[in-house]
């Protein structure tokens, strides 16, 4: 499912991502990739959202958009919250689209180095 710029209640209230006719337009995975780097997501989650010791894997199959948005805005865990003032709803929607675009990895059983 493609993500649209109607990113949660706050985004809807702000009218973000809504086309003049009222419809929502698709977020951009390409822009999202740039925003993902610009806002520092890669620092803990890796350039492909693979995660690591400092941050959970975000892709493939990111969590539901509402939960993703709520966590980014209000995290009280190891990740600091990203308020809208520093990460716009547009950028957040694009980042989510980027994470959705990341393909599944190969089965580890098909990777010889992971079966030594």
């Amino acid at each position: 499912m493609g993500f649209v710029r109607a990113f949660g209640p706050a985004a809807l209230a702000a009218g973000l991502g809504l086309l003049p006719g009222g419809g929502a337009f698709a977020a951009s995975a390409e822009k999202g990739k740039a925003a993902y780097v610009q806002h520092g997501c890669w620092q803990c989650h890796g350039f492909q959202g693979q995660g690591g010791v400092a941050g959970k894997a975000l892709a493939p199959d990111p969590i539901a958009a509402e939960a993703f948005s709520a966590f980014v805005r209000g995290s009280n865990g190891p990740m600091p919250p990203y308020p809208e003032k520093i990460l716009s709803n547009d950028d957040l929607a694009d980042i989510y689209a980027y994470l959705q675009s990341i393909p599944k990895p190969a089965d580890h059983k098909s990777i010889p180095l992971l079966n030594q």
């Binding site: 780097v37 620092q43 803990c44 690591g52 520093i86 990895p105 089965d107 992971l114």
Partner: protein
């Protein structure tokens, strides 16, 4: 028992260093007008020179002609047996194989004695380009060899360079014998630079993180102090020690005042063992626990420590969480489990933990006012047992003792020394009716272990073909090329998400050596070289995961490795930044609702190492290493490592500059 020093009898006149220096000045004037005297080889000062010959019209004899025309023999400018020769005699009784050091005038006398009188063997001088490298090298060496090295440094500026590495050794419970040269006599020491490089008490700067220090004022005092320092350093809990070595004491000849110098015999102290009653109480709690967990950090000081921990764990069928300060427990054993198992424990025994509070609590760097959130990970009635020798050497200033954690049984004792008694007590404490439940517990853990391994491998497959190269791929490409060798992972600086700990079949005590101890960055490169030196002598293959930030603190240690032919494979985790710090600045930006200023880099200003990118392969090549890079394509990594392994097997160090994902 004492040993006489054969070299102490000397027929030559005694010469005070202070008087000698004055005499040299006089002699310097005298030699301008007086021809040298051939048979004056044993005479040291102008006051001992031969009387002037009477004028003669006769042709000179052959002897006189030779004396007047031949190249004059060099006179020993300092008579007698140098005090620093005796110092070398003392050092040689302690089986110290190497002496990594950056040369300095304040220890020139002992330096000269070590290489000329001592033959540059036991110890062999290793030329270092930074004192921090010298101490770091000794740090890594000990963790393989189990024997300490000594280092010499300027007591002031050199020791200042060395301090961070000494702090790491202190926190990591590693013995290093640090000897600082210092010229105490303000009235006679050379003015200018040597006086800038002198101090009243050089050891003051490291006293908070050394086990002991001294400033010997005589040679016999030195002999006692050096042997005592070695003994204290080598008694668990191990730790660095410092000796201030007066330049005058080094340089002056041994005084013939009737006192016979002797070298005290070194006898190792036995490690402190836990109290019998406390051991029994710990065994009782563990035997009756439903969900016991063993947590270890620096518990296994030797290979036998691993064997003992396996015995304890199997007896209890309890999961073991290895915090990684040392190689404590085989990664291939089904009882090896992640830290999350602590959450459900009813009894936790922690052995040589650097931070017990951190094992059973969580600190989250978030919250309303920037002071963080504290959360307990364990249930309120969980019983805690601690065996920790660090309690015996706790000091006040530096906070390496971490937050205070109340425990139910506390043994300030060495864990490895206490394990045999604990195992025996546990055998007695486990009743027959508990044995079936314990065996059943083991079966459940075996299943969880297998499932965990499967999940870990699938997680490692994420971003497998990414560029920059994923950290999982970095470590597994490396392992593929060394797995058939007798390998030793000597250090892993930076953060590669612990993939080596999660995926490499670490079993032997040298498969993993732990980290820096004090988290002082700059440990990885020198400690790797030191450990590789010890492994070289044992015929093992050394590999390190070398981060970019760590290498740039004192890269000159690469030259030391090449000069002294220390084979080491350094595979770089070059993520082009200080990633431990990147998120700190990002976090504070978020807390303050400010967009982080990246400048022209990827991370917040001040946290990136890019623009320009450092060509570490060229840096290494310039210091005599075989090197290749930058490697960004994961498909090129395996063949490059294969090439590098061949180079290292031939006896050379090799470095691969690999561009990696951040963590």
């Amino acid at each position: 028992m004492t040993r006489k020093v054969p070299a102490q009898k000397d027929p030559r006149p005694e010469v005070s260093r202070r008087k000698f220096l004055a005499g040299v000045a006089v002699a310097g004037v005298a030699t301008a007008v007086t021809p040298p005297v051939a048979n004056a080889a044993t005479q040291a000062t102008s006051t001992n020179a031969s009387p002037a010959r009477l004028p003669s019209a006769l042709p000179p004899t052959m002897q006189v002609a030779a004396a007047e025309t031949a190249t004059p023999k060099e006179l020993p400018r300092i008579g007698g047996v140098p005090g620093s020769d005796f110092m070398v005699d003392v050092i040689k009784t302690l089986d110290i194989k190497y002496l990594p050091s950056n040369c300095a005038s304040s220890f020139r006398a002992i330096h000269e004695s070590l290489i000329n009188y001592g033959g540059n063997k036991m110890p062999e001088f290793l030329t270092c380009t930074h004192e921090e490298s010298a101490v770091g090298l000794a740090h890594g060496y000990f963790k393989v060899a189990g024997k300490p090295l000594m280092t010499l440094c300027h007591g002031t500026v050199g020791l200042q360079h060395a301090t961070m590495a000494i702090y790491n050794a202190w926190c990591d419970r590693v013995p290093v014998i640090v000897v600082g040269g210092n010229d105490l006599d303000a009235a006679h020491r050379p003015p200018g630079v040597p006086t800038f490089h002198s101090a009243q008490d050089i050891n003051a700067i490291v006293r908070d993180y050394t086990k002991w220090d001294d400033t010997p004022v005589g040679l016999q005092h030195y002999a006692q102090s050096f042997v005592r320092a070695y003994k204290i350093a080598m008694t668990p809990p191990y730790g660095p020690v410092a000796i201030s070595l007066d330049a005058g004491l080094q340089q002056e000849p041994i005084q013939k005042n009737g006192e016979k110098l002797y070298i005290p015999r070194y006898v190792a102290s036995s490690p402190p063992q836990g109290d019998t009653g406390a051991v029994k109480e710990a065994a009782r709690l563990l035997a009756n626990a439903e969900r016991p967990v063993i947590v270890v950090d620096r518990a296994a000081r030797t290979a036998n420590g691993i064997t003992l921990l396996v015995q304890l764990a199997e007896l209890l069928q309890a999961p073991v969480v290895d915090m990684g300060g040392r190689m404590n427990f085989p990664k291939t054993h089904y009882l090896s489990r992640p830290p999350t198992v602590v959450n459900n424990a009813d009894v936790v025994i922690g052995m040589e933990l650097s931070d017990f509070w951190g094992v059973v609590n969580a600190y989250i760097d978030n919250g309303e006012h920037g002071i963080g959130i504290n959360q307990s990970k364990i249930k309120p009635d969980t019983k805690l047992i601690s065996i920790n020798s660090s309690e015996l050497i706790t000091k006040a200033n530096y906070q390496d003792f971490q937050r205070f954690q109340s425990v139910d049984v506390s043994m300030p004792a060495d864990a490895e020394a206490t394990l045999p008694a604990l195992i025996e007590a546990l055998k007695s404490a486990i009743s027959n009716d508990r044995k079936a439940a314990i065996a059943k517990r083991g079966e459940a853990i075996k299943k969880a272990y297998a499932e965990g391994k499967e999940r870990t491998r699938q997680t490692a497959a994420l971003a497998w073909d990414a560029s920059p190269i994923s950290t999982a791929r970095l470590v597994m490409e490396t392992y593929a090329q060394i797995k058939d060798l007798d390998w030793s992972l000597v250090a892993s600086s930076g953060n590669v998400s612990n993939w080596h700990q999660r995926l490499w079949p670490m079993e032997k005590h040298y498969h993993w050596l732990g980290a820096s101890g004090g988290y002082g960055v700059g440990y990885g490169a020198p400690a790797s070289v030191g450990a590789a030196l010890a492994n070289r002598d044992l015929g093992r293959f050394s590999v390190s995961i070398q981060s970019d930030g760590d290498l740039m603190y004192a890269p000159g240690v690469l030259w030391t490795a090449a000069k002294h032919k220390i084979p080491l494979l350094a595979v770089m985790h070059n993520n082009r930044g200080y990633h431990q710090e990147v998120m700190h600045v990002q976090r504070l930006s978020n807390f303050r609702s400010r967009v982080a200023n990246l400048g022209n880099d990827m991370g917040p200003v001040g946290t990136s190492i890019e623009n320009p990118d450092i060509e570490y392969h060229k840096l290494a090549e310039s210091m005599g290493w075989w090197a290749k890079g930058p490697i960004k394509d994961p498909a090129e990594l395996g063949p490059a490592i294969k090439q590098a392994v061949a180079v290292v097997k031939s006896g050379q160090p090799a470095l691969l500059n690999v561009w990696t994902q951040p963590r």
